[in-house]
Amino acid sequence: MTEQIDKVLEREYEAGFVSDIESETFDPGLNEDVIRRISAMKEEPEWMLDWRLKAFAAWQEMVEPEWAHVDYQKIDYQAISYYSAPKSMADKPKSLDEVDPELLRTYEKLGIPLIEQQMLAGVAVDAVFDSVSVVTTFRDKLEEAGVIFCPISEAIKKYPELVKKYLSTVVPMKDNFFATLNCAVFTDGSFVYIPKGTRCPMELSTYFRINEQNTGQFERTLIIADEGSHVSYLEGCTAPQRDENQLHAAVVELVVLDGAEVKYSTVQNWYPGDENGKGGIYNFVTKRAVCHTDAKVSWTQVETGSAVTWKYPSCILKGDNSIGEFYSVALMRGAQQADTGTKMIHIGKNTRSTIISKGISAGRSNNSYRGLVRMNPGAEGARNFTQCDSLLIGDKCGAHTFPYVESKNPTAIVEHEATTSKVSDDQMFLCQQRGLDPEKAVSMIVNGFCKEVFKELPMEFAVEAGKLLEISLEGSVG
C-alpha cells in the first residue's frame, strides 16, 4: 500500500509554472539601505521608515525560534531579495485594462478570474504578485458602502491616521523573530476598514503569488472591523516550482471592535517542494486578532502547501462575551512539515472559543498541532472546547499534538481532546464493496474527516478546498 501511495503522491504541483514577466528585483541582501530603498519605492512617509528601521534594529538582536517540531536548513537572510515588482507596475495601472496581460493570464491559470468570474462570484480581490499589490477589483462598489479595501502601501499614504492607530497593536513589533523581520521589510499586503454598523457587501479576497526566484514575500494585512460591522475575508497563495527554498513571512492583524465579526479563511497552497524535500516555501506566518466586547473572529484554514509551515492564527478575547474560533485542516505529504495551531487567550468574561483541528499526514510528512488555551483570572464563565484529530496514511509519517492548557479561573471550563486514527481497512472495504474505487474511497473518508472544518468555509472556497484535497490525495491508497 505504501509504495502505491508514494507513487501517486508524486503528483505535479499544479500552480508550479513560472510567469515570464519582466520584473524589477533588488539584489539579495538585507541592511538599512535595503529598507530605505523599499520605503522609498513605496513613497512612504518618514514615520513609516523610522518604524521599519526600529524593527530592523530590534530584529538584529533576536534569534530564530527553534521550539517548533520542524527541521529545516538555516535561512540565509542575506541571500534573499527583499523586493520584486513586475516592471509594468512602474507606471501603475489605473484599471484592469492596463495590467500586463501576461500577469492577468497568470491569475487566470491560477483560477483567479479578476474580472467576469469575480462579478459572478461577487468577490472583491486584491492580488499581490511577489512584493506589490497588482490590482484591487470592485473598489467603487466597496467605496459606496464606505469600505476601504486597498493595498496597505496605499493605505499608509491615504489613511495614515488609521494605519498609525492600529498597525502593530495586535502583533507588537517585537512579537517574534519573523514578525519583526516583516515589520522591517514588508512590501505590500491588504488593508481593510469596515465602518461602523456596515456589513461588507461582498466577500473580500487577497491572492498571493511568489513568482521571482530568490525572493521572499513579506506581506502585511491589517483588517479593522469597526463597531457592529461584518466582513468575510479570503486568502489564497501559490508559488512556482523552484529548487531553492523561499521564505514567506507574513503578518496579519485583525482589530475587531465591539460587536463586529470577522471571518478569515485561508487556502494555503504554496509550493511544497519535491518528494525529497528539495525546494518549497517556508511559510512562517504570524496571524492574530483582538476581539473587543461581543466581537467574533473565526479563522478557517486549509493548509496543503509549503515545505515548512509555522503558523498559529490566534485570538485575544479581550472584551466580554467575545468569541474566537479556529478551524483547520492541514494535509501534509511528501517531505512536508507543519507545526500549526492556535492560541486562545481568554481575558474578558463569558468569552468562548472553539478549536477544531484536523491533521492528515501522508508520505514522510510531519504534522503537529500546537495550541495554547489560557484562562486569565478575569475570564469569568469562559468556555473552551478543543478537538484535535489526526489521520495517518502510511507508516512513514508523523502526527503530533502539543496543547498547552492554562487556567486561573475556577468558573472557566476547558476541554481538550485529541485522537489519532488511520484510514481503516474496514472503512475501505465498505466503500469498495459499494462500488467506489480505492482512490474515491480515501478521498471520501478524508473529506468526511474534514467536514467539520469545510462547512465553515465560504462556498467557493469549500469547493476549492475539497478539490485541493482530492488532488493531494489522488490514489493515496491501493
Partner: protein, 418 residues
Amino acid sequence: MSNWLESAVTRAETVSDWLSPKREASLALLREAKVPTRKTEAWKYTPVRAIDQVTVSTEVSASVQVESIDDLNSVDLVFINGEFDAAQSSSELPAGLTVSRLVDADDSARAWALSAFSNIKPDRHLFGLVNDVLATDGALIDVAEGVEIEQPIRIVSLLTQGAEAHTRVLVRLAERSKVAIVEQFLGNEASYNTGFAEYDVAAEAELEHYRFATQVNEALSIGGSHFNLGEKAQLNSTLIGFGSKLSRVDVDVTHAGSHAFAKMNVIYLLDGKELFDLHSTVEHAVPHGTTEENVRGIVADHAKVVFNGRIHIHRNAQKTLAELNNRNLLMSRTAEINTKPELEIYADDVRCAHGATIAELDKKALYYMQSRGLSRSQAQVMLNFGFINELVEQMPNQVLAEWLRPQLKARFAQMEVG
C-alpha cells in the same frame, strides 16, 4: 551558576566510590548545566529558586520514628535524611528477594548496578544529574525469577529540618516475578531531597508500584520513578502528590518489549501556596503495547499544578493502544492549573487519544446535596472525595487504599477551610 548548583558540583568532585565511572559522565554534564528558567520547556511553570533559599544545616537530628502502616505487613527500608536506618528497617527478607545498600553492595550487585544506573532514562534533567553524582545511599532490590513476593516492600525516605538527601533505588524484577513496591517520602520541614528509582521489569513480570509524594510545606522534593517494561510485563502504578514549596516528580515508562501493559493512576491535591509538577513520559518503542493513564487533581487556594503528559509512539510501535486522561478541579480564583497532554506519533496503525479538562465542581450537584441538608463545605468535600475515590478504589492493595483515605479526607477538609 547558582549557589546550590555550584555547591553540588563541588561536593560531587569529592565523591569517590565504585559508582564513580557512572557518575563522571553526569558530572561532566552538570558542570555545563544551566539553572532552568521560564524559557526551559521542562521547567516553564516551575521556578526552582526555592533551592537557593533553603538553609541546609550540617547537624540534623536523626532520631525520628517512622510510622508504620497498619496491616500492610511490609518489608520496610527506612532512610532518615538519606542514611539507611537499620533499626527501623526490616531485618528479615522473604525468599527470592535480595536487598543491598548502595554503600555495601557486593560484587555481583555492583556489576548489575553499574550496568543499570541511569539506563532507563539516560536523558536526565538537572536534578537527575545531581542525584547521579550525589546519591550516596539507596537500595538495590533484586527479585528472583518466577518468585512472587507477597509482602509489599516499603521504601521510606524521611527528611528532618535542614536536611539535604539524595537517594537512589534500583529495582530488578526477573522474568515472571511479582512484587509490590511503595516509595514514601516524608517530612514537612525545610529540607531538600532528590529521590529517583529505576525499575527494570523483565518479561512477564508484574510490578505494583506506589509513590506517595506527600511532603508539604517547606520540604523541597524532586524525584522520579522510571520503568522499563519487557515483553508482556505489567505495571500498575499509583502516584499521590501533595504539593510543597517545590515538588516535582518525573514518571517515565518505556515499553521495550511487546505486549507490555502499563496502567498509571495519579492523584494530586493541592492547597495553600503549594506547587506540584508532574512530568510523565511514555515511550512505545515496540508494537502491541498498551498504556492507560488517568490523572486527576484538585487545586485550591493559591496552589499551582503543572502536568505534562507525553506519549511517544515510535515508528515501529504498530498496534499500540494508548490513552491519557487528565481531569482537574480548580477550586479557587487564585489557584492555577497548567496542563499539557502531548502525543507524538510515528506509526499509523495505532489507537491513541488524550483528553484534558479543567473546571470547577458541578453547581447542580452541589445544589442537589445542599437541598438534602448538607452544608456547602460538606457537599464539596463529598463531591471532591467522590471524584478522587474512583482512582483510589482502583488501587490493587486495599490496605493501602484504606490507609490513604483518611489522609485524603483530612486534606479535603483542610482545603475547604483554606
